[in-house]
Symmetry: C2
Subunit: 108 residues, 2 copies
Amino acid sequence: MAKQASSRSSGVRGSRTGRPIMALLDLLGRRWSLRILWELRDAPLTSRALRTACDEASPTVLQARLSELREAGFVGLGEAGGYGLTPLGRDLCETFMPLHKFAERWRK
Amino acid sequence: MAKQASSRSSGVRGSRTGRPIMALLDLLGRRWSLRILWELRDAPLTSRALRTACDEASPTVLQARLSELREAGFVGLGEAGGYGLTPLGRDLCETFMPLHKFAERWRK
DNA sequence: CGCTATGCTACAGATAATGTAGCATCGTGC
DNA sequence: GCACGATGCTACATTATCTGTAGCATAGCG
């Protein structure tokens, strides 16, 4: 593979390019990443509530994405139980919030 | 030729929910989707130039994503050759353009 | 024709996701 | 002091998806 070995659990594709946008695009371009951030947009959820919100996605991926997102500093696990956005994660979420309006306009 | 991308059940996951944001989130949350839109952000590219820009991703997925994005109306294939954003696609792209600035701030 | 470039496809091997089941832990009530 | 229900998280076989390489048909150019 011409890529890199670190696309394992913690590596993000494109991080070696020095262009953080590539790393971010790859991280967000994984299954359920965007959806998770979206579902946490206004309130923390327990892992199971999140699973329900995400159309019963399998806990395996959810857990994987949650770990990546936590490692990236977007999501945190509160001691009261439940996953929630960090301040950074909230910023990110607001960054693509206009997507909602766009989607309504799109409506294919 | 008919699109082979639309052979995929009902297209985009979440479209049956009636919430277009879910369909959009799923479409953009597939590998290389965001990256493709990003690479086309300011100029059309030929399929091979796009492949180069996308770190030599395999043509199979690229072609699949391109078909989906074309079907969604975000990307078009100009008769002069090369893929480019449609007006709708350009809107979408601008929607998550602030991501760039966010990524710079993120820099993990 | 020979050459190069385009969009696009085939296909085997590798990787990631799905679906179901289950574990260890913690707090509640009993 | 122990069933209980809920939590975060994992195992694992099956299935879907991606990767990497090769190649096809077509078109423009000399």
